[in-house]
């Protein structure tokens, strides 16, 4: 491997599988993700999209295969904080307000937030809902609160499981815009979704998971 590719490629995946009861959930996957790249993971229900993302996030053990982070074999200590995962369960406390939830996330991340929680919420169109307990927000609004974490925390790689679910058309364009800005700033993202994301944007690449 040359030094040059190592400096650009954020995440490299070699023949990765995940084993559930000794059976692979998806066929071995090999791909690499460079800075500024957006990847759309496509596949039918149950084809292992979420599992793939959870393995990459470090929530599940790698079955077989290797992961490289910035050219080196992936150590969770190195990548912690650089990989941001937002799954189906949003990780929001229903009893806390949107602003408090974001503050907790920033505190957990341990770094100086890139912007104020209220500003991140404004960006996602939640002005006026900052101090509303998340319990009282709609599903789409909750999703937006969770996505506001993306703006708040400086992470290179975003792993988003169905970020468009529950979002209206405005929200969808919003997510596309955020992803675009992230990629332009040298970040990368892996996104699972059933509907094609912004196809006009040349940055999108497609990975297909067969069942």
């Amino acid at each position: 491997m040359t030094v040059q590719t190592a400096s650009v490629s954020l995440l490299e995946v070699h023949a990765l599988t995940f084993l559930r009861h000794d059976l692979p959930v998806f066929a071995p996957q090999s791909f690499s993700l460079c800075a500024g790249e957006l990847v759309w993971v496509e596949g039918a229900n149950g084809s292992g999209k979420t599992t793939l993302l959870r393995v990459l996030a470090g929530l599940l053990h790698v079955g077989t295969g290797t992961l490289y982070w910035r050219g080196k074999a992936l150590e969770r200590d190195d990548s912690a904080g650089e990989i941001l995962y937002i799954g189906h369960q949003l990780g929001l406390k229903a009893d806390l307000t949107a602003r408090e939830n974001l503050r907790v996330a920033a505190g957990l991340h341990g770094s100086r937030p890139a912007m104020e929680p209220s500003q991140a919420l404004r960006e996602l169109g939640l002005r006026g809902y900052e101090d509303e307990p998340v319990r009282r927000l709609s599903a789409g609004q909750k999703k937006r609160v969770a996505l506001a974490r993306l703006l708040l925390l400086p992470a290179a790689l975003w792993l988003l499981d169905e970020p468009y679910a529950n979002l209206d058309r405005v929200g969808t364009t919003l997510v596309n815009r955020i992803l675009g800005t992230h990629a332009a700033a040298g970040g990368a993202a892996l996104v699972t979704t059933h509907t094609a994301p912004d196809a006009d944007d040349g940055r999108w690449r497609r990975i297909r998971l067969g069942a």
Partner: protein, 216 residues
């Protein structure tokens, strides 16, 4: 993290009062069941208060991680760059502050209801101060272990009660010794020693158990 937990607990103030009420009611039951004899109640008062407080805590343990697992907060905790054991330690501390501390505050009242002599009450409180965090820590490990299973409440009680036997023995030993005017420092020191061990290792064990629970 500690702030978050305490804030969450504050949002559900009602839940804090539950175990306290439970402990009061259980303690009130004893004089009814055994008859209001001073000497008998005095003899068993220490034990009753101890066991009642432990059982009341058991009620609250179950919920320690369930909500975090359900709403995905636990995933975010595991993925955060902070050491998981430390975060869980904070969670356990918050649990102790919100569930055990109120119980300890009313313990003198409970003890007085059962005619426990005044000079013994400080010993009882000391024993509780050492025994309850132990229960929080041991309980947290078991809650983490049973996190993946549904309806783990009963299983949890069955596993935890034998484990907290030593705590009960030493705590009750201290109270009984104080009641008879004997030195009570030895059992208290034992309790403290076990607690120190638990503080050091329980968060690590918890972190390991929760990682396994998620990895399925």
């Amino acid at each position: 993290m500690l702030r978050r937990e305490l804030l969450l607990a504050w949002r559900r103030r009602g839940d804090i009062a539950m175990p306290v009420l439970y402990a009061v009611l259980v303690t009130v039951l004893f004089p009814f069941a055994l008859g209001p004899e001073d000497t008998l109640l005095q003899r068993i008062a220490g034990g009753i208060v101890l066991v009642t407080v432990l059982l009341a805590m058991l009620l609250t343990l179950d919920a320690m991680f369930t909500s975090d697992i359900e709403d995905g907060s636990l995933e975010q905790l595991v993925l955060s760059p902070q050491p998981l054991a430390l975060l869980l330690g904070m969670k356990i501390l918050a649990h102790w502050l919100t569930s055990a501390l109120p119980l300890i505050v009313i313990a003198p009242l409970l003890a007085a209801m059962l005619h426990l002599p005044g000079p013994v009450i400080p010993v009882l409180l000391l024993a509780l101060l050492l025994a309850t965090p132990l229960l929080s820590l041991l309980g947290a490990i078991l809650v983490a272990l049973t996190a993946g299973t549904r309806r783990s409440g009963m299983l949890l009680a069955l596993m935890l009660l034998p484990l907290c036997m030593p705590a009960v023995i030493f705590a009750a030993g201290a109270v009984a010794a104080a009641q008879q005017g004997l030195p009570w420092l030895a059992p208290i020191s034992w309790l403290a020693a076990i607690l120190v061990l638990a503080i050091a290792f329980a968060p690590l064990a918890c972190a390991g158990a929760l990682r396994i629970a998620l990895d399925a």
